[in-house]
Symmetry: C2
Subunit: 365 residues, 2 copies
Amino acid sequence: MEHPENSTEYKGLTVNSGVAQPSIVNPYLKKGRFRHHQLSANDYVEGILKGNVTILGQAVTLVESTNPDHQSIAQEVIEKCLPHAGHSVRIGISGVPGAGKSTSIDAFGIHVLEAYGGKLAVLAIDPSSERSKGSILGDKTRMEKLSVHPDSFIRPSPSAGSLGGVARKTRETIILCEAAGFDKIFVETVGVGQSETACHSMVDFFLLIQLAGTGDELQGIKRGIMEMADGIVINKCDGNNVDKCQLAATQFRNALHLFPAPESGWMPQVLTYSGFYNLGIKEIWDMVFKYIDFVKDNGYFEYRRNEQAKYWMYESINEQLRNSFFQNKTIALMLENAEEQVLCGKQTSFVAAKKLLDAYFALLH
Amino acid sequence: MEHPENSTEYKGLTVNSGVAQPSIVNPYLKKGRFRHHQLSANDYVEGILKGNVTILGQAVTLVESTNPDHQSIAQEVIEKCLPHAGHSVRIGISGVPGAGKSTSIDAFGIHVLEAYGGKLAVLAIDPSSERSKGSILGDKTRMEKLSVHPDSFIRPSPSAGSLGGVARKTRETIILCEAAGFDKIFVETVGVGQSETACHSMVDFFLLIQLAGTGDELQGIKRGIMEMADGIVINKCDGNNVDKCQLAATQFRNALHLFPAPESGWMPQVLTYSGFYNLGIKEIWDMVFKYIDFVKDNGYFEYRRNEQAKYWMYESINEQLRNSFFQNKTIALMLENAEEQVLCGKQTSFVAAKKLLDAYFALLH
């Protein structure tokens, strides 16, 4: 192995991937030695199309890698998988920490696999996951049943820096999973920031997990997120909590009636359930799949997917334009000064911006 | 006059500006001849600082002009006014067409001037105003009392193309108005799109005008706008409509309790009023000024203004970066093809974006 950092990375990958199907052996591995960096793009594609989750996991690690060589293979793999992707139902699941997301996703996933068959991939978007190098889904033991189910593939959030970067990697991972035959994709987010917008822009249905009670429990959800939801489900509707949850459901229903109906023509539903006691789960997924039928019928499903594809192209362009500007060292130095001038009222925001741009374009020439 | 198009523009300006104080004579005008294009930046600044609304109106027209010579004088004027700006309360007022905005602003403005004194400027952001070349506030006769009040200055939305452009011009106009001694600024928007975000990013308080009734009446307000409001006021609370309005107010209050409290620490209030019968107006403005005291006390007022100044600098940078890219003719041609490739699944959004950017940067070198 020429690059020790690659070796480390590949070890990390081996640890992270493929736990869902521990019995599957990577046919491209020489026994007892970690040599999967020798796989070609075609090897990856072949493995993925056969539904080999070990290879899939390794390909996802390539997607997440910042190494340019890995990126170049990753992009080739993605391009080749693209014609086989798209045939899935993508569900975004959001809710603040404490709402019981892991337990819920475990219950949701098992129900969906048992009731509808097929294969389920659970991914995540959490740009704050740097600290744990594996994010909210890192602790797979919290999805006890799903993590050992033969038809599931669970993958933590990529831990790259920017939201744009993290979201792109998740989006590319969706393509690989779909090509590997996963026809149901869950994308989890933490309900506290911009990740929801990113998640909303890559799923067909956006499900928001809430808790009963006004005040503290709700403070964690950022403004604007509730309005993105295609469905709101109130967790922990069990024991003494049932009345409170049903009251909350009524309140949410009334609130949603004050909002205009979404573009899809679908009126967001509010349901209660208990992830822990496995109550009300069926009703939630009946609702989700009723929505999917509804929007497939009225054409919104395809319309939204097309809009999302365009959105991500423009988002990619904008992000790369911004990076080219803000990561320029000369500009970064000038920026600090410009901000100060604007804050103390010596320069308008526009003039400050204009001066920086003139400098930037002069540097490019 | 050397440039006939300038002459036209200046005539337009003469028609548009200064109606609020028809008695004021521009001292820099030679009698009976339109020669104000000869004013220097210092002449404008001097006139503005004296509170001359005719000069102010002319300066705003320069700000709105796309002529580079005008822009260069405009920017000089703005820079020189900047140290005298900032001492005002800026209120955003939004609501769909039909909510009674003009009548309300007329009543609001007269009340504010009578109860609090000072001077009031009413501006607007409406990027769709191209068609009327004068936008929602163009028909000033709809603000019967305010349009003839000696301490008011009413100015339609700039009619430049992009939202960014329109919003910037409105923001720069605020600076000029403040330097001219206007200590209360209303910024009107139409409640149907992105303009609200722009408006929200330049005001201290965002007031949303709603109507009673679920369903059709509310369909016009875009999702996400309600959550930006610091106060929601329900118009047409008069005659047979009172019960319905009070019910709606209760519903909005309940709905707002489901949202987390805004960063300001202020719980958005919901009030009812009648713009036409002039009922409940005092309570609204007691509320607005209570909010202003509250956020001045807790430091949020200054914090928000600083964040806004920074926001607009970054927004300006991003817009100019985007313009440089998307207005490039070679790129525009490539873009169409790239979009097609992405939509038919031949290329990922990211790869399509990357190719376009590589081409763009190659063109710049």
